[in-house]
């Protein structure tokens, strides 16, 4: 009753108010909805990768009798019963002579061992799509009844290099390649980046020259990464003649990309050191360089490190420029120096993603999970460093 009275007499009553409030609610809901969509993309994405990658943690092994003698060493296929030969990994069979060489006692014996199964058997065991002949499938089923087939932790994935045989392929060579490449990247971009930041923040006057440098750094951060690959190809490989596909060229190319990140974060860290520190230094008669070296830089160091780690994480996930400089070569053995041909983790993921065999899908997803774990830990370290050493002035 009272409400009705108000509506007719109240001079401030706005008949469109209800509509406006509904519109406001709708708007808020819309905003929330967008955010939820964005987050659910992330959740869906991660769960998709996990569900695809988890099977790769396990690999099928089959218990078979292996005969070690002169004949089987010459032709290692002979070491295993004809019926079982088809379901064992070709790569595993190929390694039989090596195993005897490592352990001469095996000679002229017959042993029951767990052998790595063929990728199709593995896919069959995991309930994926498989291509097995009926005969071989029957053999696997029989062995399964006798408990001679098992899935066990796939340590090969972390101890082997790349292979054209899916069950034998691992991430190790790419991991070593990534470490070597990033080592080059950080050795180049960290000192140059920090020195540039120190110059711009502590020494430079605000003149044309500094402005050009600053505009440049901003532009450098926005240039598509693939163009850095073109630079690497044209200058490092064609002009300087550095070895193609090597960690050296890849590392140098990435270092130019990491440079702006390190400069920007280091500058922010230097800027956050209060002026009173510098003035106290001058008051005690220190020179500018002494103040920066002994006082400002140590105080800004946690911030500088945080920036370096973020830059490192970004360089680690970069693929496009490395493909251009040829770092997608097939590398079964880990590189031992920065001038050897190498591949990196994201490039390995790219190569595996393009393989026709179904078994590579889980390898790819597992590689992705490994890469994401490393990246997330790096970022977590950066956040931790920032929290721990953050000083409120």
């Amino acid at each position: 009753m009272k409400n009705k009275h108000n509506k007719t007499n109240n001079p401030f009553y706005d008949p469109s108010l209800k509509k406006r409030h509904t519109a406001a609610k709708r708007f808020k809901f819309f905003a929330l909805f967008s955010l939820i969509i964005a987050i659910s993309f992330l959740v869906f994405f991660i769960s998709d990768m996990v569900s695809k990658g988890i099977p790769a943690l396990k690999q099928t092994y089959v218990q078979v009798e292996v005969t070690y003698n002169e004949k089987t060493i010459k032709s290692s296929r002979q070491a295993i019963d004809k019926k079982l030969r088809k379901i064992i990994s070709r790569a595993w069979i190929r390694e039989i002579p090596k195993r005897v060489a490592n352990n001469p006692q095996l000679m002229n014996t017959t042993k029951l061992v767990w052998a790595l199964a063929d990728d199709q058997v593995d896919q069959y065991m995991k309930g994926h799509y498989y291509k097995l002949k009926n005969k071989d499938k029957k053999t696997v089923d029989e062995l399964k009844k006798l408990n001679r087939v098992k899935l066990q932790f796939n340590s090969l994935f972390f101890t082997n290099g790349d292979s054209k045989i899916p069950e034998f392929a691992g991430l190790k060579s790419a991991l070593i390649g990534s470490i070597l490449t990033l080592l080059v990247t950080m050795l180049v971009s960290f000192p140059i980046g920090v020195m540039t930041a120190i110059y711009l923040e502590e020494f430079a006057d605000d003149n044309k020259f500094t402005q050009i440098i600053e505009v440049n750094i901003n532009n450098l951060a926005a240039i598509p990464s693939i163009l850095f690959g073109l630079l690497g190809l044209a200058i490092f490989i064609n002009l300087f003649g550095m070895p193609r596909s090597s960690a050296l060229v890849g590392g140098l190319t990435l270092s130019l990309m990491t440079l702006p990140i390190i400069i920007v974060t280091s500058r922010a860290a230097l800027r956050s050191v209060p002026d009173s520190i510098r003035q106290a230094g001058y008051g005690l008669g220190l020179s500018k360089i002494q103040v920066v070296r002994d006082h400002v830089l140590p105080l800004a160091f946690p911030g500088v490190m945080t920036g370096a780690i973020i830059g490192l994480a970004q360089a680690m996930g970069e693929t496009a420029p490395l493909i251009i400089v040829g770092m997608i070569a097939f590398i079964p053995d880990s590189p031992t120096s920065i001038t050897e041909a190498a591949t990196v983790m994201p490039a390995q993921i790219f190569t595996w993603a393009g393989m026709p065999e179904r078994a590579y899908i889980e390898k790819t997803a597992m590689g992705i999970l490994t890469l994401l774990t490393v990246l997330i830990s790096l970022n977590a370290i950066a956040v931790y460093l920032r929290k721990k050493f953050e000083t409120k002035w």
């Binding site: 110059y199 430079a204 450098l220 630079l231 680690m316």
Partner: protein, 316 residues
């Protein structure tokens, strides 16, 4: 300015050797900062020279107006229009995903969410930005593209496994954090007095945002969007893995298309001689990409500077 220069002179050591050493250090620092300039010019000139080599062999006019791209050994034709069109369409798809979601997410985070929620959600979105693009590419090729094909089959449509839609959608997801993060910073930087004034006049929260906050933050939002576009144009791995290789001049987003970056990668991973037109065409495409992204970036910086000057914020 003058004071600062003077101060540089004052704070020098009286010791002669130290003085020499310190001057040397200073020049070392300057040398380091010149490297960033050298890199930009290095990129520009290395691409420019190789592109000029290409245009010596093939016509520039046909490159920007021709509609046939066939880099064979004999009778090769380099008309980049279908490639530019494909890039444009995929970028358009990506932006139509990323723009609404990114901006509305930013509005929710800066206007509605409590500081606690914002502090939790923002890092989550930044994870999205930190995922390597090769991972997105795998996701697009293995999960999204087959899904689109299945859905289209159910609807009676014919979709390619390399459809522009799949790579565009996934690229859109990748760009969401680029837009939301910067937009969120800009919207938060709009002074609170404006919001309060509008609310005091009786406007609802939504009306305040629409008619006061967003117009004020517009330069920043434009800047964020342009950065998103430049990121979409230069994105490589997603399209290399999920989009096609065939230059295809069409408006049908269910067909396969190719982009500038795909053709660059394709031209350079082959075994052709470095001075063949097929290889050099990568640099011509790279040059086009460089200029477009550079212009977008310059406009973006201009808008963000305009916003900063208007509201006197330094934190962006």
């Amino acid at each position: 300015m003058k004071v600062k220069k003077k101060s540089n002179r004052v704070f020098q050591s009286k010791n002669r050797t130290t003085q020499v050493k310190e001057t040397a250090i200073k020049y070392l620092l300057i040398a380091a900062s010149i490297i960033s300039v050298l890199t930009t010019f290095g990129i520009l000139f290395s691409i420019l020279f190789e592109a000029l080599e290409f245009f010596k062999l093939k016509s520039f006019v046909y490159f920007i107006t021709g509609t046939e791209w066939s880099p064979g050994v004999e009778g090769s034709k380099f008309g980049a229009v279908p490639i530019f069109a494909g890039t444009f369409i995929i970028t358009l798809i990506a932006m139509s995903v990323a723009l609404p979601i990114g901006i509305f997410s930013a509005i929710y985070m800066s206007e509605y969410a409590s500081p606690k929620t914002r502090g939790r959600v923002k890092p989550l979105l930044e994870i999205l930005a930190g995922i390597p693009t090769v991972v997105y590419g795998f996701f697009a090729a293995i999960t999204v593209a087959p899904f689109i094909v299945t859905v289209c089959e159910a609807l009676g449509l014919n979709a390619s496994f390399n459809s522009a839609l799949a790579s565009g959608l996934v690229m859109g997801i990748m760009i969401i954090p680029v837009i939301s993060s910067l937009s969120d910073d800009v919207i938060s930087a709009v002074p609170d007095s404006q919001r309060k004034g509008s609310l005091a006049l009786g406007l609802t929260m939504a009306e305040t945002i629409k008619s006061v906050v967003l117009p004020a933050a517009l330069p920043g939002i434009i800047s964020a969007s342009l950065l998103g576009v430049s990121k979409a144009l230069g994105e490589t791995m997603i399209v290399v893995m999920a989009a096609g290789l065939r230059p295809n001049l069409t408006m049908n987003i269910l067909e396969d298309m190719t982009t500038v970056t795909v053709r660059i990668v394709d031209a350079l991973v082959g075994d052709q001689a470095f001075d063949s037109p097929a290889t050099l065409s990568a640099f011509a495409l790279g040059l086009a990409l460089f200029f477009v992204t550079l212009v977008l970036n310059i406009i973006s910086v201009y808008y963000i500077r305009k916003f900063k000057e208007k509201y006197k914020v330094n934190s962006l």
